[in-house]
Symmetry: C2
Subunit: 236 residues, 2 copies
């Protein structure tokens, strides 16, 4: 399931920013060539294996991150010790924006899949944001995007019956290719996303399989009957 290719090289990559595969949709999309020359504090590329932690809540570190590949969960622990997954970070997303304001991280960030990311020094981003209006606007956009996503997370994934929540989660995880396939997570993580128990998540997913709405095609990979799910998602 996991191809473990830890990248140990911590390179100071200016050239690579310019050539970056995801650059057109990345935070730095609006940077001019000459801007890259002014980056002195190195931008480090790092890799995480599934399950590894990127940062902890409360930790105070002047870095934000762009995800290049993989999947990161932002987690909060509840008083009773259980966890709730608050948001997912996907490739081209940025996390750790709060460090731009000198604040500690708000969540635990944990890799759900093997991941690669770029670590950006908060100072550098702050300075570039002052000098480059496009980057600055892009930053605001990211902030707003995170907020919109948080609100959607609440209304889609924490509202209504468990079946509906699962239907909406799977739809959200299914790219609109055809045939529609999606990569699910452990039942425990699904529970932590939806605010339901592991068993309930398991029961419902097993049931969807029996109904033929999901068809297993690999470890936690399914082919999806999107129409049936869409139907489930807003009515029983």
């Amino acid at each position: 399931m996991l191809d473990k290719i830890p990248l140990k090289e911590a390179w100071t990559g200016l050239a690579d920013c310019e050539q970056c595969a995801i650059r057109k949709s990345a935070l730095f999309a609006g940077l001019r060539l000459e801007d890259f020359g002014t980056i002195h504090d190195p931008i480090v590329q790092t890799a995480l294996c599934a399950g590894e932690t990127l940062y902890h809540a409360g930790e105070h570190s002047p870095h934000l991150f762009t995800l290049r590949r993989g999947l990161i969960k932002l987690v909060r622990y509840l008083p009773d010790g259980s966890q709730r997954i608050v948001r997912l970070i996907r490739p081209t997303d940025v996390t750790g924006l709060e460090t731009l304001l000198g604040k500690p991280y708000e969540h635990h960030a944990v890799a759900m899949q093997d991941s690669e990311l770029c670590r950006l020094p908060a100072d550098t981003v702050n300075r570039l944001s002052r000098e480059n209006p496009t980057l600055h606007r892009e930053l605001l956009n990211r902030w707003q995007q995170a907020l919109a996503e948080a609100d959607q997370w609440l209304t889609d994934l924490s509202t209504g019956a468990a079946r509906q929540r699962i239907a909406r989660l799977i739809l959200r995880l299914t790219p609109s290719d055809s045939p529609p396939r999606c990569q699910l997570f452990s039942r425990e993580e699904i529970g932590a996303i939806l605010g339901i128990t592991t068993e309930t998540a398991s029961r419902i997913i097993a049931d969807l399989r029996r109904q033929g709405i999901l068809e297993a095609i690999g470890p936690n990979r399914y082919q999806v009957d999107t129409a049936a799910l869409a139907n489930l998602s807003d009515g029983p």
Copy 2:
């Protein structure tokens, strides 16, 4: 319950910004005297009675708002027609930040109490934000604050059993004065905040009253046994 004092005056108040009672904690806290002189597009003060709508989701209007007095709910409607309250705006909070990016409003904003607010033109705020670093930083702070609040809303108010959610909501609504009192909302609104039904909300609150944890002292006003609620909030 409601003292209806609709403010009809839509004044172009520069002087009043400087003298504003909430100015020290307002968005414009960092503005210099000379900055106020550069505001040409008028800042309008408006008032809403409980139940009135400030703006609709999808509406495209270049204004954001600071709440001076009262309480505003940000609402999303679900496919099935019911509503979910996504966040509350309290005095000194800002709402409608998305218009700074030229985007339509993400929510319906409805007054839960009689409210007064200032309407700020997005252009003006954008310009001032470019010219004044303190204001600019304050804006980012507000954005981050909204995001943190959204995450807390999810973990506090949409997680766990209905009793716990209600306990946490009441605690959150109770200022730390003594004796601790709080102003509740209609049972329907409480349901929409917590993702439970009106009846469940009513049952539990009625039950808390019978247990003496809440004691009615006015229309939807209660004296609160905070210790008992804190106890409820993270265990059964």
